[in-house]
Amino acid sequence: MTSLRQTADQLIPELAPRQRQLLMAGGVGLAVSLVGLFFNPAQFLQSYLMAYMFVLGIALGCLALGMVHQLSGGAWGVVIRRPIGAAARTLPLLTLLFLPIALGMRHLYVWTDASLVAHDEVLQHKHVYLNVPFFLIRAAIYFAVWNALSYFLNAWSLEQDETGDPRIARRMQRLSAGGLLAYGLTITFASFDWLMSLEPHWFSTIYGVLILGGQGLSALAFLIAVLVWLSRRPPLDDIIAPEHFHDLGNLMLAFVMLWAYFAFSQYLIIWSGNLPEEIAWYLHRLQTGWRFVGLSLVLFHFVAPFCLLLSRAVKRQAQMIVKVALAVLIVRLIDLFWLIAPEFHTAGVWVSWLDVVLPLSLTAIWLGYFVWQLRGRAILPMHDPQFDEALGRILERAGERP
């Protein structure tokens, strides 16, 4: 019988080659897309922003879900705590990956153009907030907060693994309470800065919550996919039970509904008000070919996953729920495409090859980094206060009581 105390690397030898493959594939993809940067830097940055927000969403969503689990408890979080931690530990990489956006700001954000601002009363008004130095300072603050949260939670989690000291759990809870508050505020302003200000005249107070809900959904879908992968090989194959997928599936259903709720509320309020400064955002999406992207979001970001996840059978079978989870990840990317691309291609739908290659390569690199982080620690948090409640009985049955 294998001991669950060993690191994931020792228990799942497959992780190391997977990590190499992912990093190589990502590296090649990124190298190819550099051609795009050379010929069309603006398009490169637009696609890069989308790809970046996609992987950042998964990592931050995991960080936030981990903090929610610290506070709420519950069996659902115990089995995914290690993937959550590994995803949160990718934040240093993501900080580095933000550099292209910081360096290429003038290709993305029209408010960086001084001559344009000089002739626009509203942009002058916003200049106190929307200016390059303050933008960079804010970004530095966001990354400082996220990295600090990830660092301390992961360091304490490691300490908890080694010592099993129950006081650590309380310490992590306290940090998580403040951390969630900090995450909510930073992600809101980050989404205002990085996404909403792509169209600097437009504003919507629900925007931060919409992005936050989307990140939670991305993270859950990602974690379900990882858990299914892990559940297919030892040592987790006889530990992960249908109940775990059921709980996570229900959570994913809740996030699908939440996202639809936020997105529809925003649309209905702006559609009904029909005010010129607000409706413009929808006009150049819904009166051009972009409306089909919007329609596909209604169908595949809400209707299809909602109907599928209502079914108990879908939620309890690993091979079914993993398909739903992967599909949700793809529509998450389409949602970001819908938020970003129409700002630059107002005439109609425009898909650049970079919109495909960059998300793929960035995701591959990030995943490689994630696998590297996953390898270093035990695959289950043996000293989680909820551990016995969640897994004690299953482990006893399998004769693996540590």
Partner: protein, 466 residues
């Protein structure tokens, strides 16, 4: 019939977190203790005292509404530009209070939080009574309440239909659906307990009335199975419903283009505010009731602490809403929005605004401390403060957004009259009257669910061998 035999079974609850039910209780003791409040125990003098005050207040409402029917809405302080005064403030406040009941009974059930069991019944009753109070206001605000049925779509000789693009019509559907589903949920939950009361009532009238309401419930395993399925399905339906109700209420404001109302954060922020005020009201009621009826074994400190935590979280979401609203009012660059926010903070209603910030955001931060969360007196005071704060929030949203119209020539002030106050205080009387009647005649804690969470209710896994 009272069984003479004593139960030998003893419930042992493990140490660690405070229990959701004090140790030592059995199926019999739980049943007897809760049903005795309704059936055998003498009505406490405090009940009569409270009921009479509540009933007197309710009569204030009756007088106020009667006078309103005679004279019209001119007796209120509403005017042009402030066409929505106390009536809408109170409507939103009451309907928000109702939300905690559904949240406790439905969402916490789905999340498998067993601690909800001892507070869900009475929180659901609170929901119903709060919705009843809320429903009065839009109807009397229409000016011709006897024509309120015009709000419903029905074939008529005038050949007109309700305007379905108006959130006020959505409200009619949302609130009436909410009232119906809450009633169903509450009643379905009551059926097994009504059967208990039927079987234990000493008086023939009690036996007949509870018997009719219990519909012949006999605890059959097949019935229980469908019952549980129905209850879970209702919980699954009530959860999105409760979110939709306050969302629709927020649409009443947000769909209009009045600065201060038209903002996209309103739906989630209204829902959070509703849960916030609802939990404050549950605490306001639960703390005295558990003391008066000696229910500390069932409504333990763990319940109070959990509710305090929910209040802290929802209060922070509300604070987030205020922050983003204020930030975007500036960031949006619309001068009417900017002026509205500035006027809220520094204009004639500024003291009310800052009082609301104090009540809703500053003072509840004390809930971060565990000592405060487990101190019933402190919790009670904070709960009252939050109740007041959430009422002030609606006052600020309704009044300050309206009283400075787009043209300074149509600016005005809103001064509530004695009749505004009388109607508001009167509905508190109605709410409490209904609540006192509920406490007297129905089990305020779900007996069947309490039995099910006792340790002895667990069936061993391998008991094929006896």
């Amino acid at each position: 019939m009272t069984p003479a035999d004593q139960d030998s079974n003893r419930a042992d609850v493990g140490s660690g977190t405070p229990p959701v039910i004090a140790p030592g209780h059995t199926f019999g003791s739980v049943t007897d203790k809760i049903s005795a409040i309704v059936l055998t125990r003498k009505t406490p003098i405090g009940w009569w005292f409270g009921f009479l005050i509540a009933f007197a207040l309710m009569n204030v409402m009756m007088v106020a509404i009667t006078y309103l029917f005679v004279k019209g809405t001119g007796i209120w302080g509403i005017n042009i530009p402030v066409g929505w005064g106390f009536a809408i403030v109170n409507f939103v406040w009451w309907i928000g209070i109702g939300h905690a009941g559904t949240l406790i009974s439905a969402i916490l059930l789905l999340l498998k939080q067993t601690w909800r069991t001892s507070i869900n019944r009475f929180a659901e009753a609170m929901t119903l009574f709060a919705v009843a109070c809320a429903g009065i206001f839009p109807i009397i605000h229409t000016g011709r309440p006897w024509l309120a049925y015009w709000l419903f779509p029905y074939p008529n000789t005038m050949g007109v239909w309700p305007q379905f693009r108006s959130p006020l019509v959505w409200d009619v559907f949302a609130v009436s659906t909410y009232a119906t589903v809450s009633l169903l949920f509450w009643y379905v939950g009551l059926i097994p307990d009504l059967a208990t009361l039927r079987d234990r009532s000493q008086s023939p009238i009690g036996r007949v009335v509870y018997g009719m309401l219990a519909m012949g419930w006999r605890g059959s395993a097949r019935h229980w199975h469908r019952y549980e399925t129905a209850y879970l399905l209702l919980a699954g339906l009530a959860t999105p419903l409760v979110v939709s109700v306050h969302t629709v209420v927020s649409f009443d404001f947000a769909v209009a283009i009045v600065p201060g109302w038209h903002t996209t954060i309103f739906p989630p922020y209204f829902v959070a505010g509703a849960i916030y005020s609802g939990f404050a009201m549950v605490l306001t009621l639960a703390i005295p009731i558990r003391a008066i009826y000696g229910l500390e074994d069932f409504i333990t400190l763990r319940h109070l602490e959990n509710m305090a935590k929910v209040m802290l979280v929802t209060g922070l979401i509300v604070a987030y809403g205020y922050t983003i609203e204020a930030f975007i009012a500036w960031y949006g660059g619309n001068k009417y929005e900017g002026f509205m926010m500035w006027n809220r903070m520094t204009g004639p209603y500024a003291p009310v605004y800052w009082l609301l910030i104090c009540c809703n955001i500053v003072i509840p931060q004390a809930l971060w401390s565990r000592r405060v969360r487990t101190n019933t007196k402190a919790l009670f005071v904070i709960a009252i403060i939050v109740n007041i704060g959430m009422w002030l929030e609606r006052f600020i949203i309704v009044v300050t957004s309206l009283h400075r119209d787009f043209l300074p020539s149509s600016w005005g002030m809103y001064n509530p009259t004695i009749w505004d106050w009388a109607t508001f205080v009167g509905t508190i009387g109605l709410f409490l009257t209904l609540l006192f009647l509920f406490l007297r005649f129905l089990p305020m804690i779900s007996i069947a669910e309490m039995r099910a969470i006792l340790p002895e209710a667990k069936v061993d896994e391998d008991l094929r061998v006896i």
